[in-house]
Amino acid sequence: MGKPATHSRDYIFTPAIRIFHWLRALAILVLVITGFYISWPFLVAPETNDTQVQSILRFAHLVFGFVLTAITFVRFYLFFFSRNDIERRSFRDVMSINSWIKNLKSYLWMGQLHKQGVYGPLQFMTYVAVSFMALIICITGLVLYANVYHLGMGGMMWDISGWITAQMGGLAWVRIIHHYLTWAFCIFVVIHVYMAVWCGIRFKHNSVDSIVSGYDYHKADH
């Protein structure tokens, strides 16, 4: 005989969303660290050049780069075609000025954050921006990759890479954009982690654990 439940347990994040979220987090962590090494090789030279320090770190960068690329494409697909419409539902909030005002006020300690889907409109637009940032950093990464591996997949991408390089004004620009976007990701991660924790504390639901368990808790009467 327990007390009657005060909260309902609602399923919000599908396994695909959760697994890809954490894989993407891992990929971003590894990519930022190895990426900053590639940009400015800060490790001292090895004892012997049998240890290919740059090559090994670049290899890790490529492996996780492909992980991020694959997830980026799959997540774009899932956003539009997933049977679960929890992400798409937020689009109604994005189109409503009222929702935007309510969202911004709630972040400034005024009132609740009511939303149609799982994301607030500002959060939703931030994720859209991050998705496109991921797309661009993956494309520039693939162009840089095609210049290092001329056979196989790199070879298949060679012509389109050349075209993209020309559109961007040369390989130097491809590299520079890739570098700038790295910083955008770093800044995003700080704000994202804070907001996830803060929302859980402030609104008492949709906390950090939902991206692990997939469940959110709402007061029964809401």
Partner: protein, 378 residues
């Protein structure tokens, strides 16, 4: 017939046709070589080297040799726009006349402002005569960028006061092929660097014909002569890359064939000029080498009789064969990630770190206010 066999036939037919034309010089290339002490063996070695450089199979070396002999049948007009003549220098300033400079001497050079004896009205007449007489047949090589601001008035050449823009339009009309020699002619070069007050642009932007861009400040003599040889041999321009540079010369990055690439992969970098790593020949990436973003064959072809090239001499590549290299590749002695951003006077990393710090401070302030904010009512 496979493509190489077809190309070979095409080259043979082209050279047959050229042989019918009257030579410009009384002396043949063979006689000139003898005078300069270049043996037949040297010539065959040179032909084979050019063949492989053009990425053609070895049987083509006979065509290359024949094309070199017949190079005095193809009229070449060489124009100077806004430039420093360094590209011509790359070709003609060799310590001993080698085959590349000799062929440039042998080729039917109808007009070249640095090399001609004529001046003033006579020079102008020579140009007009050449453009008229060889209309539709001449190969046009251009050195230097074309200023377009103020209707091109920033470059006014010759006794008749034509602007570079007018001369370019006129000369391009009757050209069988156009070669932009050097980064200025190809992409504007230093003249087109920000803020580009003269509106300098590459040749391809002012003419309505395909242009072969030979990037490089200067391009090596091999790339210039190779492109000339290709045109003489086949009567057409070679396969081009994304910036219309010949694939055989600009198909790989400097980084790809660099002799210090092993050092790069191993993580052995020069930290500053003159340090232990610099003496050991470590990779120059951290002191600003732009080889990873630059397409050219410098590591394999080198300069001045294959003597040396910048990285061998101990300085990083500055990316001189890329479009707008003067702006994009600066600072030349820092890697791209550490270049100073225009208007900030700081690196992208510094700007990024400041924004990241500001985000952290904002987040912290928000957290502090949240502690004191009125809790939400349920």
């Amino acid at each position: 017939m496979d493509t190489h066999a077809a190309l070979y036939e095409q080259g043979k037919a082209r050279l047959e046709a050229l042989r019918e034309l009257s030579p410009r010089h009384t002396e043949s290339l063979k006689q000139k070589m003898e005078q300069h002490g270049i043996t037949r063996r040297d010539f065959m070695k040179w032909s084979a080297a050019v063949t492989s450089m053009l990425a053609l199979p070895l049987p083509f070396s006979t065509l290359v040799a024949e094309a070199a002999e017949l190079s005095d049948r193809v009229p070449l007009i060489w124009l100077h726009m806004a430039e420093c003549t360094g590209c011509s220098e790359s070709l003609i300033r060799t310590d001993t006349p080698n085959l590349d400079s000799l062929i440039f001497d042998h080729i039917s050079l109808e007009y070249h402002e640095t090399l001609m004896a004529a001046a003033g009205w006579q020079a102008e007449e020579n140009l007009e005569h050449a453009l008229e007489q060889y209309k539709g047949n001449y190969l046009l090589a251009v050195e230097g960028a074309v200023p377009t601001a103020n209707n091109g008035a920033f470059l006014t050449v010759g006794c008749k006061g034509h602007t570079g823009l007018e001369i370019m339009h006129h000369a391009a009309e009757g050209a069988a092929g156009i070669i932009s020699v050097g980064t200025c002619a190809a992409f504007g070069g230093v003249q087109a660097a920000a803020p580009n007050p003269t509106g300098a642009v590459g040749v391809a932007e002012v003419v309505h014909k395909p242009v072969v861009n030979l990037g490089g400040c200067p391009p090596s003599e091999k790339n210039i002569v190779g492109t000339l040889m290709y045109f003489i041999m086949f009567g057409k321009l070679p396969a081009l890359d994304m910036f219309n540079r010949p694939k055989w010369a600009y198909g790989a990055r400097v980084h790809d064939n660099c002799e210090r690439r092993g050092r790069f992969d191993a993580g052995e970098f020069v930290e500053e000029f003159g340090d232990f790593g610099a003496k050991e020949g470590y990779c120059l990436y951290k002191v600003g080498c732009k080889g990873p973003y630059t397409y050219n064959n410098c590591p394999t072809e080198r300069f001045n009789h294959h003597t040396s090239w910048p990285v061998l001499a101990g300085h990083g590549c500055i990316g001189c064969s890329e479009p707008s290299f003067w702006d994009d590749m600066a600072d030349f002695e820092r890697p791209l990630g550490r270049q100073l951003l225009y208007g900030f006077d700081a690196t992208a990393d510094a700007v990024g770190a400041v924004i990241l710090g500001a985000a952290a401070v904002g987040v912290g302030a928000h957290a502090v206010v949240s502690v004191f904010a009125k809790p939400l009512e349920d």
